[in-house]
Symmetry: C2
Subunit: 242 residues, 2 copies
DNA sequence: CGAGCCGTTGAGGGGATTCAAGCTCAGTGG
DNA sequence: CCACTGAGCTTGAATCCCCTCAACGGCTCG
């Protein structure tokens, strides 16, 4: 929480205060904007909370807004012509999603909340307008795009390569980066793991069971789990040594 | 080839003429610029030709330039900690590559020519400078980024999913989009197919052989081949029907 | 002409899928 | 209160696809 002069607090719009105090602001898209700019834009930004497994937007629909993830995890799904869906990427706190909208393009994936998520919905027009004034915004936007591209290519090279066990270990590494304050990670359902790593639910289940026996993971209630970071690293190294 | 006033031809720099006449210009990054702008920038753009299997840039090196592909195919490779490389994306004519450089970031992949390629090397500083004047350039850049992101996510959902035969068929569909004037496609070596689809050279070879028997593909000299588009579609549908 | 690279094919084994059954657990209604 | 149900997870057994190991042929090049 930043210090805001008391005499201003009343005058400012609640959402502007929320933006100024936002804990992910420094790492998020509007981190580059100053408070004055925030004052101008606050009315257009909506804060929203979605339950787990709620769709943020659908593939193919006209994109009217981008979103900043303030809390939680979002996955991107595609369904191929054969009809089975594949999760191609996940995004978390501080990430910008739905950037296609800025190009007047339909969303290219279906975005679904993995956990309960808190989002900031930013209308396309607002970003356009801010990008006119030659701020640092275009650069900031390109940076987001590059991060998304990086994540997607890493998904190919890490999560779509090798044995089922290895791919699952890689997934756990990524999920551990989004662990909550008590060190618990969000653990996907078995069929979701399947959609992420291109394996069947049975294989996913067997691999999870194996990792439990190996002490790498310990299941917790409500789709969460606790990881033993050291054991995870050891298991990965052992895989790579093969 | 566009018409250029004769009285100007002599006065213009050869590279400026080349840019103005470039056949991919309309679809490339600088398509948004007018001739006057081209006149200003020509001296900084270098045209270069690279032989097949030549590295365009290495992962991790400081990026000083972006490249537009005028002719040929480029692949992006990553090597995971285990040591095996994976091809995560390919780019062709009209595509912009190495955009990380614009963000003062090291290149995130190794880029290698698949075929002989003709590139335009565009210094980072030049793009920065052009992006200052609030042209259509930032938008054009974001569009490139989105296209790259799209291609990468499609790679996950299409080329990293399903049986070896299905993945290979999907690869052939993509390669056929880059067929040359005589309808021949570039066919990767078997180990390259392996790196693209996460399979062994033996499996790649067996699958190619099977597709030859099925009349989908016909090998031609020097790593090229001819596809039967109808048979390819039929084979894909048959896969999906399973 | 031998060396080496690339592609092909075969045999055998292993890992993932498929098919199937049983389990836990939350929600529902008798 | 407890049987009933269905969704999600787990485990087993059989099958199959792909990997591994191996041998061989065509080709280029020193």
């Amino acid at each position: 929480m930043q210090a805001i002069p008391i005499y201003r607090q009343e005058a400012r719009h609640p959402q502007a205060q929320a933006c100024a105090a936002c804990e992910v602001r420094s790492s998020a898209l509007f981190g580059a904007l100053d408070e004055e700019a925030l004052d101008r834009i606050h009315t257009h930004i909506a804060s929203l909370t979605l339950a787990a497994d709620t769709t943020v937007y659908d593939r193919g629909t006209a994109g009217l807004a981008v979103f900043t993830i303030r809390e939680g995890l979002v996955r991107f799904e595609r369904t191929n012509e054969r009809g089975d869906r594949r999760i191609v990427r996940i995004a978390g706190r501080g990430d910008l999603i739905g950037q296609e909208a800025l190009l007047q393009r339909p969303y290219s994936d279906e975005a679904v909340a993995c956990t309960e998520v808190q989002l900031c919905r930013i209308p396309r027009a607002l970003v356009d307008q801010l990008a006119q004034g030659r701020d640092a915004l275009p650069r900031e936007l390109m940076l987001r795009w590059q991060m998304a591209l990086d994540a997607s290519e890493a998904w190919v090279s890490d999560l779509s390569t090798g044995s089922a066990r290895r791919r699952l270990l890689q997934l756990l590494v990524r999920l551990s980066a989004h662990a909550d304050s008590s060190g618990l990670i969000w653990l996907p359902r078995r069929d979701e793991i399947g959609a992420m790593l291109d394996m069947t639910v049975e294989t996913a289940s067997r691999q999870i069971s194996a990792l439990r026996r190996d002490g790498v993971i310990e299941l917790a209630p409500s789709r969460s789990a606790r990881l033993d970071a050291a054991a995870l690293q050891r298991a990965l190294s052992a895989e790579d040594a093969t």
